[in-house]
């Protein structure tokens, strides 16, 4: 089954097509929400931000030049909104659920069981990365962005994208080591 391309939807949105906006929102909002949530770590804030992101898409669709994929363009807007939000609220408290996912240092019985699961350990370490490292890991692994696309979203040279990803992975190994898992790399 063939779906309308994002580029075509953007063209329609530029003409004020509300239905096209609904289709584009339905197609991308979950991934954008997850990207933003991983940065701001607050579900309510992330929900507010994706409304703002897609409102910008609605307003700016006529200026979209198609030099990047639509999803890359949207993630770039999302990143800008998320970082702006973090600058406005530097001491923002984590919501309970997100905090629950993040704090996992204590060796309570549940944690002890979880530590037996290498996958769970890796996921835990992923939540402990800095925002800079977390976003690049997510963009590459979850959002499947190329080196060039990540460079466009984050606003850094392609060579820096590669080295930042390398150091994010290295940090991940260090965090795992702290949790008692030696991956033998780097």
């Amino acid at each position: 089954m063939q779906s309308t391309s994002d580029d075509i939807l953007i063209g329609r949105i530029a003409s004020g097509d509300r239905t096209a906006m609904q289709v584009l929102f339905a197609r991308h909002h979950v991934r954008v929400y997850r990207f933003v949530l991983r940065l701001v770590r607050n579900e309510a804030t992330a929900e507010d931000l994706i409304s703002e992101v897609f409102l910008d898409v609605w307003r700016q669709a006529g200026k979209f030049e198609g030099r990047a994929a639509v999803s890359t363009w949207i993630l770039g807007i999302a990143r800008f909104k998320a970082l702006s939000s973090l600058r406005r609220k530097p001491d923002q408290e984590l919501d309970d659920e997100t905090a629950e996912r993040i704090k996992d240092d204590a060796d309570d019985p549940e944690t002890a069981i979880a530590k037996k699961d290498k996958g769970a350990q890796l996921r835990q370490a992923l939540t402990r990365l800095s925002n800079e490292h977390r976003e690049i890991i997510d963009l590459v692994y979850y959002h499947e962005k190329s080196v060039e696309e990540v460079a466009g979203i984050v606003g850094i040279p392609e060579a820096t994208v590669k080295t930042r990803m390398f150091y994010a992975r290295k940090k991940l190994s260090e965090l795992l080591k702290e949790q008692g898992i030696d991956r033998g790399w780097p």
Binding site: T19, F25, R38, D138, Y142, S146, F166
Partner: protein, 221 residues
Amino acid sequence: MSTTDKSQGDIEELLPWHATGTLGRRDAQRVEDALQRDPDLARRYALVRDELGETIALNESLGAPSSRAMDNLFARIDAEPARAARSPGFGVRFSEFVSSLSPRTLALAGGAAAIAILLQAGIIAGVVLKERSAGGYVTASRTVADTNAGAFVLIRFAPQATQDEVTKFLEADKMTIVAGPTSGGLYKVKISPTPLPQAELGAIVKRLQDNKVVGFIASTQ
């Protein structure tokens, strides 16, 4: 650092993108060759694949936003000043039409795909032209008075459907294309000159969706 070390470092940095399949062909081949000859690199690549799997799992566990986000967005959009509607030109419509008939992968598949696209365009255009010449079907860009009354479905024809098959499919149930292609390559098809009860419409949709020429079907107003 020797040239070999530098090259190995470059390859190592590319492993995450190799795992997600987002490298260009040349770089992908370089990484693949290096993995074949370097067991230690292959072991480190396995670590990358673990990271990839767990990053996906972590993100998928984050759930989805509530409907509040969408409600809020469209309330704000509705509050925006109305835009002057622009009717897309023939080129855009044709582009959308061809795009709607073939999967994106076909577009990337080269000559064979191009032939498939043209054949498909010809098939649907042929059906529409044939029906128009017979005074029957009305195409996408046209509306007629009687298109507002009746029972309708949205249909996307299967990519492999032939012109004859589509024609026979429409004729078998006395169906008429009244609009299309809309977004996603959908055609609005009248299946009855009078409105039908929801249950009856649902039963017809269910029967039609088993036909091999139908890629997608849903009732509509």
